[in-house]
C-alpha cells in the first residue's frame, strides 16, 4: 500500500551513467569534463541520479577550494552545500559555449567562498580564521588529490615568476582582492593587476586548457 525508499533517489528516478566510482578530482585530465556537462544538462531536467554523479565529480574540489579560502570547517561545509544546491537550482543556466562545466561550478564556488569571507570581516571571525590557519592544510589535502593533477598544477605554478605565483596564491586561495594583495606584497596595484593576468594566461597555457 505504501512504499518508502530511504536515501536521496526518488522512486523510479533513473540511474545515470557516471554515477559509478567517485572521481574526487572532477576529471582533471583530458575532457571527460564534457561528461560533467552532459550530467549537468540531465540535472537541469530534474534527474536526481545525474545530480548524484555531479556531486561525486565536483564535491571534493569544491569543498577543498572553499576550505582553503574560508578555513573554518563548519562554514566551509555550509558554503559547499550552498554551492552544490545552486548547481542543482541553476543547472538550466549552464551554457557549454561559455566554458566547461567544471569551470562553471568552480567559478560559482569560488565567488561564494570569497563573498563569504568578505561579508564576515568582523573581528571575531578574523580571530577564528587566524586560529584555524594554524592547521597545515597541505597535510589535510594529502588525502584526496591525485598526485598527477596536483603535480601538474604545482609544476605550472612553479613556472611562474615569484611575484606572479604569490599574486595568484593570495588571490585565489587566500581570497584577497588585488588591492589587498598589492599591500601584502608591497607592490603597486597596477603591477599586481598585470601580474595576475599574465600569471593566469601562463597557467592556462601550461595546463593546456582550452583558451
Amino acid at each position: 500500500m505504501t512504499s518508502v525508499s530511504p536515501g536521496g533517489r526518488p522512486p523510479g528516478a533513473p540511474r545515470s551513467r557516471g554515477a559509478g566510482p567517485p572521481d574526487p578530482l572532477g576529471d582533471p585530465l583530458g575532457d571527460p569534463a564534457g561528461d560533467l556537462g552532459a550530467q549537468i544538462r540531465l540535472v537541469a531536467r530534474g534527474d536526481a541520479g545525474a545530480f548524484d554523479a555531479v556531486y561525486e565529480q565536483v564535491a571534493a574540489s569544491v569543498f577543498g577550494m572553499v576550505r582553503r579560502v574560508i578555513r573554518d570547517p563548519a562554514q566551509s561545509e555550509e558554503v559547499t552545500q550552498d554551492v552544490l544546491l545552486e548547481v542543482w537550482r541553476n543547472a538550466s543556466r549552464f551554457d557549454a559555449e561559455r566554458g566547461s562545466a567544471t569551470a562553471w561550478v568552480m567559478t560559482l564556488a569560488h565567488r561564494r567562498a570569497v563573498d563569504r569571507v568578505r561579508s564576515v570581516q568582523k573581528e571575531s571571525e578574523r580571530e577564528r580564521r587566524t586560529a584555524a590557519a594554524d592547521i597545515p592544510y597541505d597535510e589535510v589535502a594529502e588525502a584526496v588529490e591525485s598526485t598527477l593533477e596536483r603535480e601538474r598544477v604545482r609544476r605550472c605554478l612553479g613556472s611562474l615568476t615569484e611575484l606572479q605565483r604569490e599574486s595568484v596564491t593570495l588571490a585565489y586561495y587566500g581570497g584577497y582582492t588585488y588591492g589587498q594583495v598589492a599591500t601584502l606584497l608591497g607592490v603597486p596595484t597596477g603591477t599586481i593587476k598585470t601580474r595576475m593576468r599574465d600569471a593566469l594566461i601562463r597557467l592556462r597555457d601550461c595546463l593546456g586548457v582550452a583558451g
Binding site: F51, A59, F63, E77, G99, T107, V153, Y178, R197, R204
Partner: protein
C-alpha cells in the same frame, strides 16, 4: 585591447581580467568591469579561458567532503524547485527581456548559515517571502500568515541543516508522493506532498503523527489550485512515530477515521 579608457585608473579595464577571473576584485570594481565585459566579446572569451585555469587550481586543492554532506545536499535538492531554463521563443523575440524575478526557491532562502545569527534576520525576511510564495499566501490575513511563516521558516531551516537530517519518500496509495526530511535531534520533520489526487469538496487530506505518544493531527490539505503542499513543518516528533495520511471531512478530524493512504515509519 588597444583601446585606452581614461576612467579606470588611467589603464584599460582589460588588465583587470586576471583579478576578475580570481574574484580578486572589490564590489565596485567588479560591477564596473562587468559593464565593460558586457560590451567586449574578446574580454569575455579571455575570462572564460582564465577560468578554465582557475578551475584547475580548485581541483588541485580537493579534499574529501565531510561525511553526511552528500545526504544533506541530495535531500535539500529533492525539496528545491529548479530555475526554469531561458525561454527559447521569448529570447528570439527580445534581446534582453525584463525578467520577472524568479520565485525565491524556499530552501535557498532558508539555508541559514548556522553560525551567522547576525545575517539570519536579513535572510529570514527573504525566507518569509519565499515561504509565503510556497504556501500560496495571498491577501486577507497575510500578515498573520507571514508571521507564522517566519517562525516556521527558521524551524524548517533548522531541520534541513541538522546533522542527523534524513530524507525519505513515500508513495501515497491512490497517487502522489510525500517527501520527508526529518531530524530526531530537532524533534521535527519537514515534508512536501505532490501530485495528490483531487478529492470531493467535502473532504481533505489530513496528515498525522501517530505513535506511542498518541495520534496528533499535523495539517489539512485540499488539493485544488495547488498541486503541491509544503514545505510543512511538524514538530514534537517522538521515537516510534509514523507520518500518516488519511482523507477526512474537510473540517478535519480529531483522530484518523479513514484508511491510511500513507504510513511512513520515522
Amino acid at each position: 585591447m588597444k583601446l585606452r579608457r581614461s576612467k579606470t585608473h588611467g589603464r584599460e579595464p582589460h588588465t583587470l581580467a586576471g583579478a576578475y577571473a580570481m574574484d580578486a576584485i572589490a564590489a565596485p570594481d567588479r560591477a564596473r568591469f562587468e559593464r565593460h565585459l558586457a560590451g567586449c566579446e574578446e574580454c569575455a572569451q579571455e575570462i572564460a579561458g582564465l577560468r578554465e585555469a582557475t578551475a584547475r587550481l580548485a581541483a588541485a586543492a580537493a579534499v574529501p567532503p565531510p561525511s553526511g554532506l552528500k545526504e544533506r545536499v541530495m535531500a535539500a535538492a529533492a525539496m528545491t524547485r529548479q530555475q526554469p531554463p531561458p525561454d527559447s521563443e521569448a529570447a528570439a523575440e527580445t534581446e534582453a527581456p525584463a525578467r520577472i524575478p524568479a520565485i525565491v526557491p524556499w530552501f535557498r532562502a532558508l539555508a541559514l548559515p548556522r553560525r551567522m545569527a547576525v545575517a539570519a534576520a536579513a535572510v529570514a525576511s527573504v525566507a518569509v517571502l519565499a515561504v509565503a510564495v510556497v504556501f500560496g499566501v495571498s491577501n486577507g490575513s497575510m500578515r498573520d500568515q507571514l508571521n507564522q511563516a517566519q517562525v516556521s521558516s527558521q524551524q524548517i531551516a533548522a531541520v534541513l541543516t541538522a546533522r542527523d537530517a534524513t530524507m525519505m519518500t513515500g508513495a501515497v496509495a491512490g497517487g502522489g508522493t510525500v517527501t520527508i526530511v526529518m531530524s530526531h535531534a530537532r524533534h521535527a520533520l519537514v515534508f512536501t506532498a505532490a501530485d495528490l489526487h483531487a478529492l470531493p469538496a467535502s473532504r481533505g487530506y489530513e496528515f498525522w503523527l501517530i505513535g506511542p505518544a498518541g495520534d496528533r493531527p499535523v495539517t489539512m490539505f485540499r488539493p485544488g489550485g495547488h498541486d503541491m503542499l509544503g514545505p510543512v513543518i511538524a514538530s514534537g516528533l517522538k521515537a516510534g512515530d509514523h507520518l500518516a495520511l488519511t482523507a477526512e471531512p474537510a473540517g478535519g478530524a480529531a483522530r484518523p477515521t479513514a484508511p491510511m493512504m500513507l504510513d511512513v515509519v520515522l
